[in-house]
């Protein structure tokens, strides 16, 4: 059996090695992330059968869980790890040609470490360890947002940094409270002991932790960094931030709220929060004329939708939410990647500057169109099954409040459709000028891979549904989580 700790250790080791490799051969460094993420992807795929049978619990350093740190590789964690490797691989291939200027070696190191941090967050079973990996994720994204060193990048990076640091500070205070109350940092251990403490005591730590993680996961009042950072980062990084970083944040929120605390009184509140995030994100995106900002706000909206789905906490909705999450990673990645080259060619982020791109860059425009269709939830693309599952799960609950929220979800889809179709019209049905020029082969490879994935998932969602279903029970079934960690 392969050991899941390699998912973190190998990219980390390779990242440490990059300066040495770099002094040996300049060209080789660019391919290090590709190799590392390929390795991770293969590892994830090989782990699937074992994980579906039983979650793998790795005790690091050989100390049993409440005393040592453990990795918990359940279906959910593996789903995220696989998604991170997949998106990371595709984007790293894209970056090969997209990132040409600036300190390229440092870019690839930071990029790899960002993904390592994300993998660590989703696999760890220890609260403080989660914080540490979260910091890796955050700090590398601060640096990557400012990668180009231009005005916008630096400005958004510093704003992101301030908010992110406040958020992680709050998270650390929450962890401190939790340690003070329970005397342990192991999530399974805390989950087991949660019933021994009066509920009201746990409120402040929980809200601090949710707020801290919420900053990264872009839940409504905490997400002000997102549009700036996503719009001014290099497009490959925007794709990763949108597709991986905020999802991982959401994972952490869900893990803490559902598995660790698991007190169902608060779930409905999160459903409302999700809808609020969804509506605000979509409406702000509606009013944008800058394409990357529009995509960024749309990410906020999608996160709201996923949060709503997770917060309903039934197997169906969580499966749907996870499906939507997978879809969002792939589609938004595709959108950012294709938009990246279109912006590169046209030299401006205004939607009007993309007029007539359908003629000049047909494949890139097609990629954008497919991504947009998928995100809006049109069949036969990957967005539809997710939306279908979410709505059906929510209606199955049969509560009037939730039915109304579902109505709002559908309403927001209309808004989302409007602004995406506006861009598609600009691409295809408005006249622009410029010469016809293809995106480079690496970028095309990346986009075609994602397009194939979108269509495949849309046509045959069952492929993922079973796995997602066990992932959702991994998230919701607190007892089996506790049981498998603390044998």
């Amino acid at each position: 059996m392969v050991n899941p700790v390699l998912l973190i250790a190998v990219p980390l080791g390779l990242a440490f090695m990059v300066p040495l490799i770099d002094s040996a051969s300049r060209k080789l460094t660019r391919f290090v992330p590709v190799a590392a993420l390929m390795f991770n992807l293969i590892l994830c795929i090989r782990l699937i059968p074992a994980v579906l049978e039983n979650p793998i619990v790795i005790n690091l350093g050989g100390f049993t869980p409440p005393f040592g740190i453990n990795l918990f590789v359940g279906p959910l964690g593996l789903l995220f790890a696989g998604l991170i490797s997949l998106a990371g691989l595709v984007v790293s291939i894209y970056s090969l040609s997209y990132i040409k200027n600036g300190p390229v070696v440092k870019y690839h190191m930071l990029y790899m470490l960002l993904l390592t941090g994300a993998t660590g967050v989703v696999l760890t079973g220890d609260l403080f360890n989660l914080f540490v990996f979260f910091e890796i994720l955050c700090i590398s994204s601060y640096a990557l947002v400012a990668y180009h060193g231009d005005r916008a990048g630096i400005e958004s990076s510093i704003k992101y940094l301030i908010q992110g640091t406040v958020g992680s500070g709050l998270l650390l205070i929450g962890i401190g409270f939790i340690y003070g109350i329970f005397g342990t940092l192991n999530m399974a251990d805390i989950a087991m002991k949660i019933a021994t403490v009066e509920q009201s005591t746990l409120f402040v730590p929980m809200i601090l932790m949710v707020a801290g993680l919420g900053v990264e996961s872009a839940i409504f009042p905490l997400n002000a960094w997102l549009p700036d950072a996503h719009s001014s980062a290099p497009s490959s990084i925007s794709a990763i931030l949108s597709g991986i970083a905020i999802e991982v944040g959401l994972y952490a929120v869900a893990r803490i709220v559902f598995t660790v605390f698991g007190i169902s009184d608060i779930y409905l509140f999160f459903a409302f929060l999700g809808i609020l995030t969804l509506l605000i994100g979509e409406m702000c995106a509606f009013a944008q004329s800058n394409i990357k900002r529009m995509l960024a706000y749309s990410s906020i909206g999608q996160i709201g939708l996923i949060l709503f789905a997770l917060a309903l906490a039934t197997n169906n909705t969580v499966t749907g939410g996870l499906f939507q999450l997978v879809n969002h990673t792939i589609s938004k990645g595709l959108l950012f990647l294709s938009a990246g080259y279109m912006i590169y060619r046209s030299g401006s982020m205004e939607i009007s500057s993309l007029n007539g791109m359908g003629k000049r860059m047909p494949l890139t425009s097609l990629a954008f169109t497919v991504g947009a269709f998928s995100l809006v939830g049109l069949p036969p693309f990957a967005g539809f099954p997710g939306k279908f599952l979410i709505v059906s799960g929510a209606l199955l609950k049969g509560q009037m409040v939730i039915n109304i929220l579902v109505g709002l979800v559908l309403l927001s889809t209309v808004i989302e459709g409007t602004y995406f179709f506006r861009v598609i019209q600009a691409l295809y049905f408005k006249d622009g000028n410029g010469e016809r020029k293809r995106a480079p082969a690496t970028a095309v490879t990346a986009m075609i891979t994602l397009m194939i994935l979108i269509v495949a998932l849309g046509v045959y969602p069952k492929f993922l549904a079973d796995f997602l279903s066990s992932a959702s029970s991994d998230l919701l079934d607190k007892m089996s989580y506790v049981g498998s960690v603390l044998k």
Partner: protein, 620 residues
């Protein structure tokens, strides 16, 4: 593989193949397109009188997706494929000098395939999926012409998404309640549904289909879309695509909910829904028809008539007797035939005049383009419902239903509609074909053969169905029976019923006799001398030779009288909503002020608000 699977495979496979062939050679693509559309017609024709259902896919979370064929879907599929075929043939020369023709053809086939998928769907899931495919591919075609078409396409797709979201909600609600989406199963299961739930289903699906069929308050996408789309596609759009809404109404009211069983029970909620729907249909007849009268754009005029005629169909279907439903379905078919014919005639003229469709700048083309004239003439005869054209039969059936169903106001509304139709389409015919020929059109040619062919085919169909309505009515009767109504008594020549019957052969004889009499009268007693058109008395002033049009202000006093009442207030209303959404969004995004201290403030505010609520009320 059953026939339906092969059919859909051919339809969707053709989309790709058309595009790929288009990259190779345009003539190859054109040949392939014609062959493909003919193949579709043949396959569907071979399916006549079959019923059955096959599951074709379980990959969507294990929900079985199936195809189903019965008389209803066969009729719609046949109409779709034939009109699609004619539209492709027509496009061959109409689109020949445009850009992106491969894209045009493949999207046309995609729309067609989507419609075929919709009508052959055996469950609501595949129905929804094909419906969506149909919707977004339509969107890509409506904006094909660029310019103002962009706004039209956006309007269309927004309303279309609203409709499909409503449909999604309804579909999923059915799924969560009954655990299946198979239409046949659902029709048994919904028997026990509460009246409230039935009403909910009808309303939520009604929104979706009402938008597609442009029922009055939901119609605003249609005029722009019809006007701006490429003309051969406008024909498909108005002939079949819009009428998928009618198919949907039939499916939801009479198949899924099964309203025929209890429609006329005293306390049925469904009957009140249908009553409201019938009134909406009546409004949809009257107002758009009169708005049509105000139009000076040939396609826009036809578009408004498209809405108005949709009202007749709704009226017939909603009234819910066997005669009414049959009339509604028949009118759908007839409308498809004559409106496609009219659009094609307009398109032929556009083709030769370089895209002109302004009624006031055309005229006198009758001698230049006689085929188009005959097409337009027969088309408007059908539209009005002149006896011996197909429109007459279906309108007769609807009138008869309304009168024998004691709904005088509805009947009156329908009648008013017909009156308005006559006024406005006469203007249409006159301004294009009669009157004076402008100088610049002195030497335009006949339209090419592949444009004439569809016009001739459709014109003869109008007469055929007008004289022998029994042909389509047999199929329609089967549909009506399958809904649970009593069978109609149909002969090849018409309909036999207890209170008054329709016999078109008698009519034919009478009208023929009348025509002969009139012809003889004028032939024998002719005392006229031909004068030139501009040989006119104009208060002493010389009449301009080039442009003498006494039709520029057609019906002007009438316009001045009615036009203040005929503003499209719904369009204004929706535009207001869109503006409002824009303002609101613009306001909301102002919360991201750009000052990072505020952003941190939001974080702190969030936490302290939570803590405050918790400490004050302790809800947790």
């Amino acid at each position: 593989m059953t026939g339906m699977e092969i059919l859909l495979l051919v339809a969707f496979g053709g989309v790709m193949l058309t595009y790929i062939l288009g990259r190779i050679s345009s003539s190859l693509r054109n040949t392939f397109a014609v062959v493909l559309s003919l193949v579709l017609v043949v396959i569907i024709a071979l399916m006549y009188d079959k019923t059955g259902e096959t599951i074709f896919y379980r990959g969507f979370f294990g929900i079985p997706m199936s195809f189903r064929i019965d008389a209803l879907s066969w009729l719609f599929a046949m109409a779709t494929s034939v009109l699609g075929c004619l539209s492709v043939i027509f496009s061959l020369s109409y689109m020949s000098d445009r850009k992106n023709i491969s894209f045009y053809y493949s999207m046309l086939f995609l729309v067609n395939a989507g419609m075929l998928g919709v009508v052959f769907s055996g469950d609501l899931l595949s129905f929804f999926i094909f419906w969506e495919i149909m919707s977004w591919s339509t969107f890509l075609l409506i904006s094909f012409n660029r310019g103002p078409a962009v706004a039209a396409g956006l309007k269309y797709i927004i309303m279309s998404i609203i409709g499909s979201m409503a449909m999604l909600a309804g579909t999923i609600s059915l799924y969560t309640n009954y655990g299946t989406l198979n239409i046949a199963d659902l029709s048994h299961l919904t028997v026990s549904a509460s009246p409230g739930y039935q009403l909910f289903l009808l309303i939520i699906f009604g929104v979706a289909f009402g938008i597609k069929n442009a029922v009055m308050p939901l119609h605003t996408w249609l005029p722009d879309a019809y006007t701006e789309a490429p003309s051969p596609f406008s024909a498909v759009l108005s002939g079949m695509l819009t009428r998928m809404g009618i198919y949907g109404f039939l499916l939801i009211i009479y198949v899924v909910v099964g309203a025929a069983r209890f429609l006329h029970a005293a306390d049925s909620t469904v009957s009140s829904f249908n009553y409201v729907l019938a009134w909406l249909g009546a409004i949809t007849i009257v107002i758009p028809t009169f708005i049509a009268m105000l139009q000076n754009d040939a396609k826009r005029l036809l578009a408004w008539h498209g809405i108005g005629q949709g009202g007749y169909m709704i009226l017939g279907i909603a009234f819910g007797t066997n005669m009414g439903v049959a009339g509604g379905i028949f009118h759908t078919l007839n409308h498809a035939i004559y409106i496609v014919l009219l659009f094609m005639s307009v398109a032929a003229i556009q083709y030769r005049t370089g895209g002109v469709r302004d009624l006031n700048s055309l005229g006198g083309l009758i001698k230049k383009m006689p085929v188009a004239f005959i097409g337009a003439l027969l088309g408007i005869c059908g539209l009005i419902g002149v006896p011996l054209t197909n429109g007459f039969v279906s309108k007769w059936m609807i009138y008869k239903t309304l009168i024998s169903g004691r709904a005088p106001f509805l009947a009156f509304a329908a009648l008013i509609g017909s009156w308005g139709t006559i006024l406005s389409v006469y203007k249409f015919l006159h301004n294009i074909f009669l009157g004076q020929l402008p100088e610049k059109y002195r030497d335009i040619k006949q339209s090419p053969f592949n444009m004439k062919l569809p016009i001739i085919v459709l014109s003869s169909t109008i007469l055929l169905f007008g004289i022998l309505p029994g042909l389509p009515l047999r199929v329609i009767n089967k549909i009506v029976v399958s809904f649970g109504f009593d069978s109609l008594n149909i002969s090849l020549w018409g309909i036999v019923s207890e209170s008054g019957m329709l016999n078109t052969i008698n009519l034919f004889a009478a009208i023929l006799a009348g025509l002969i009499a009139v012809w003889l009268f004028f032939r024998i007693g002719a005392r006229t001398i031909p004068v030139k058109q501009d040989d006119n008395y104009a208060a002493g002033a010389a009449v301009p030779r080039d442009r003498y049009s006494y039709t520029a202000k057609y019906y002007d006093p009438l316009f001045r009288m009615i036009s203040p009442y005929l503003k499209d207030i719904f369009n204004t209303f929706y535009m207001k909503i869109a503006d409002l959404t824009g303002y609101l969004s613009n306001g909301i995004r102002k919360i991201y002020t750009g000052y990072v201290g505020n952003y941190v403030m939001y974080i702190v505010l969030f936490i302290s608000l939570m803590i405050f609520v918790q400490m004050k009320w302790s809800p947790w």
